[in-house]
């Protein structure tokens, strides 16, 4: 290993140079012909390690500057996009509620409030994206779509005012979600659209945060997600596909929100996600793929969630291998419905509802966040280093990796991942972290999020109080 990914002299750094890593092997094999995966990996490592070398050679005060979060620059980049986007953004013309969410959630993470005029404009714009029969489309007049519905609802939650929240017609929305529900238990993105785990998550997240989640929406869904957990441990977009960070977050969060997370094989899921953090200090999305800043949230956020589920994971490990056999990979697991609990079910559910209480499944979001966080399962400081040194763009915004362009999507998920890191040691959800949990100056600290929905925690409490 010729370059240390983490500077051991940095005061807040705890990691010394890894002596063994999955990818460093590429360097040992120079004499042999490298495969394409190895070549691409080497190129990225070279680039990232050069940045870390400069960082570790720099004097302490320069290091502090290098890992500073450029708040003003980020707000400037975000606000500019919110007010006007150039012609090249026409490729995102069916994703405008997403642009609203990426930008306003990023700003909220940076504690930047929004003025009344901009807030009213946002509510007005999203109401034009709303379909008369429920659900939000990618722009005015477009077909309602689950992903943009999630983005629109999270935007309105992030605005947080009564006007924003009351602009959502929950009854219509519920009927839209039901129309998107497929007989296999999963959801379609839009009328006659594709079925996948993303559709499932966006439907359930919206229903849960708005307190309209019910048995009809839940039926059969857990078994579908279970069929998407792969032999590697992570979750795929569809049964049979490859384990993937984005879908793993979506599948895991969905299973928690519908109170069926104990059906997943959690120990193999944890193992798979933990191994996605690489020598570059950031996360990759899939095995043997390249590091990418957005997975700071999808993968880091998944582990952050699991830090509140360890008692369920422990139970699974203790009773293995017998219980693992019930967690069939081919989707033959029992299809216990939400009310009809089988007597041998794990006692380690987040909430033990009885029949009459079943309608209160939306309360899981609140219960979940009260569970004690048992501390990070990933290297939080290393990940902060990747986000701040490799993904952060000095002119504002964040990117996938050095050499790539910044964009609003990566800005949103790098910042969300950074928040997850900073609060990963905090036992309770909203207690301020200790200074050594935050890489760089304490002024880098972002707002905490509710990791199941990825909205700022305070905004989540607001919507719960109102609805």
């Amino acid at each position: 290993m010729d370059s240390s990914p983490i500077d051991s002299s940095s005061s807040s750094s705890t990691l010394s140079s890894p002596t063994s890593s999955p990818h460093s092997a590429a360097h040992d094999n120079q004499s042999r012909t490298l495969t394409l995966s190895q070549l691409e990996q080497c190129k990225v490592e070279e680039r990232v390690f050069e940045i870390y070398r400069i960082f570790s050679d720099a004097p302490a005060h320069t290091q502090t500057l290098m890992v500073e979060l450029w708040r003003d620059k980020h707000i400037e980049f975000l606000t500019r996009g919110f007010n006007q986007l150039g012609p090249s953004y026409h490729v995102l013309d069916a994703n405008r509620p997403w642009l609203c969410y990426w930008i306003l959630h990023s700003r909220a993470l940076l504690s930047e409030s929004i003025d009344t005029e901009l807030e009213n404009n946002t509510i007005d714009f999203l109401s034009r994206c709303k379909d008369k029969n429920g659900g939000y489309g990618g722009g005015p007049g477009q077909l309602p779509h689950l992903a943009t519905t999630y983005a629109a609802v999270n935007t309105l939650v992030t605005l947080g005012s009564d006007a924003a929240l009351l602009s959502i017609n929950r009854e219509e929305l519920h009927s839209f979600l039901l129309r998107m529900k497929d007989s296999c238990g999963a959801f379609r993105m839009h009328t006659a659209g594709e079925i996948d785990v993303r559709a499932c998550y966006t439907a359930i997240s919206v229903a849960s945060i708005l307190n309209i989640l019910d048995l009809e929406l839940v039926t059969g869904l857990g078994d579908y997600i279970l069929r998407c957990q792969t032999y590697e441990g992570g979750i795929a977009g569809e049964p049979g596909s490859e384990a993937h960070g984005g879908y793993t977050f979506c599948g895991l969060a969905t299973m928690i929100l519908i109170n069926e997370v104990d059906k997943l094989d959690l120990s193999s899921l944890i193992d798979w996600v933990a191994f996605r953090q690489g020598v570059e200090c950031g996360f990759q999305g899939r095995t043997n793929k390249l590091v990418d800043g957005c997975y700071s949230f999808w993968q880091g956020g998944s582990l952050f969630i699991i830090q509140r589920l360890l008692s369920i994971a422990h139970h699974q490990i203790k009773s293995s291998p017998i219980s693992l056999k019930h967690l069939s990979v081919d989707g033959n697991a029992d299809s216990a419905s939400f009310t009809g609990r089988k007597p041998d079910r794990s006692p380690y559910q987040i909430h033990d509802f009885d029949g009459e209480e079943a309608g209160k499944i939306s309360a899981i979001g609140l219960e979940f966040i009260k569970i004690t966080n048992e501390g990070p399962l990933f290297h939080s400081i290393a990940l902060q280093q990747y986000i701040l040194l490799c993904s952060q763009v000095l002119e504002g915004g964040f990117r996938d990796k050095p050499g790539k362009q910044r964009d609003h999507y990566h800005s949103c998920y790098c910042l969300s991942g950074l928040s997850v890191c900073q609060y990963s040691f905090s036992k309770t959800a909203d207690s301020p972290p200790l200074p050594n949990a935050v890489l760089g100056l304490y002024s880098n600290l972002l707002e905490p999020i509710h990791p199941l929905y990825n909205v700022v925690l305070e905004k989540y409490y607001k919507v719960q109080a109102l609805l």
Binding site: L85, H90, D93, E242, P321, H379
Partner: protein
């Protein structure tokens, strides 16, 4: 489409066949947020698209219009959805549609809409489409061997339309090119567990374990075959713990190099599932002792020691290994 050869784009307002249609501007409101400074051709095409979409005009010219609009933004799912309605109403030639979608897909291979459209079309065309679809995804994968959508589509084609005959060979080919291609490993797992021609996981297990062990020994630092090896025993972890080839490859790799994280990690899982270290195993235990002198051959404390070693040799995951150590069964 008006005429593909023309370099000059002719505005709809100057096309005689559209003279009866009133374009519908986007209802962005007086103070839109995230407004896009659309180029004129984009704005006008979308204005005419809205006109036919809102009036539900299922005509030949509407179909041509969707082709133009899709070329400008293939991510607009509303246009695709409307196009399918028009195609159905017109009973359009689906082979023409196949040519159209394949040309769009070749240029935009990472977009949900085009692959959903391909699936819709292939479903209508039926089993006769299987060969062409497999060929098409093969071409996309020859450019980007890890294209997630292409792999999902390929799996769907195999299950819905068939064409399994050469799939294992195809996986072999891709893995020969790049043994680190995890998508190809995943496809291999898909084939051996689901192909109706191979007899399923149990029938394939022995030969697959041998293949995987070979892959590990040639590249012990490649995570993919290590995960695949576990996957081959997913239905029966006891079998994993008692498969001599599995414990054998751990020993062989660790004898050559004591700090291979994937080998140590698999060993930990073997112990968890009841693996009893043999005499042969003790030789390697001796080597591990140099790292951590307190090791013993008692499986319970051996597992604890392996966690401790992993905390040292894999510092990026020291939190994870500490957690594993604190919850050994």
């Amino acid at each position: 489409m008006s005429s593909e050869e023309d370099d000059e784009w002719v505005p709809f307002s100057r096309r005689s066949e559209w003279s009866d249609v009133k374009p519908v501007p986007q209802d962005d409101g007086p103070h839109p947020v995230v407004p896009i400074a659309y180029a004129d051709d984009f704005r006008e095409t979308m204005d005419y698209f809205r006109a036919v979409y809102f009036s539900d005009e299922r005509s030949r010219r509407a179909l041509d219009l969707t082709s133009e609009a899709i070329a400008m933004n293939p991510g607009n799912y509303t246009i695709w959805h409307f196009r399918r309605l028009v195609l159905e109403s017109l009973h359009a030639d689906l082979n023409d549609e196949l040519k159209f979608i394949n040309s769009v897909a070749s240029k935009n291979s990472k977009n949900y809409q085009i692959w959903h459209h391909k699936r819709w079309l292939a479903e209508k065309l039926g089993p006769e489409a299987a060969e062409k679809e497999l060929e098409f995804t093969k071409n996309i994968l020859s450019i980007d061997a890890k294209n997630y959508h292409a792999w999902s589509h390929r799996q769907w084609v195999l299950e819905a339309l068939g064409g399994w005959e050469n799939e294992l060979d195809y996986c072999n080919e891709l893995l020969e090119d790049d043994i680190y291609n995890n998508s190809a490993w995943n496809q291999r797992y898909f084939v051996i567990t689901r192909s109706p021609l191979l007899g399923g996981l149990q029938a394939m297990r022995e030969s697959e374990v041998s293949y995987t062990v070979g892959a590990i020994l040639s590249n012990p630092e490649n995570e993919s075959p290590w995960r695949y090896l576990r996957g081959l025993h997913k239905d029966d972890p006891d079998l994993l713990a008692h498969n001599k080839q599995v414990s054998g490859v751990c020993l062989q790799v660790l004898s050559a190099k004591h700090d291979v994280v994937f080998a140590l990690s698999l060993l930990l899982d073997l112990l968890r599932h009841g693996f009893q270290p043999s005499l042969e195993f003790c030789g390697v235990v001796d080597a591990l002792r140099s790292v951590s002198p307190e090791l013993s051959s008692d499986p319970a404390s051996l597992a604890g020691s392996i966690c401790s070693i992993l905390e040292t040799v894999d510092p990026l995951r020291s939190n994870y290994w500490a957690w594993r150590r604190s919850h050994l069964p």
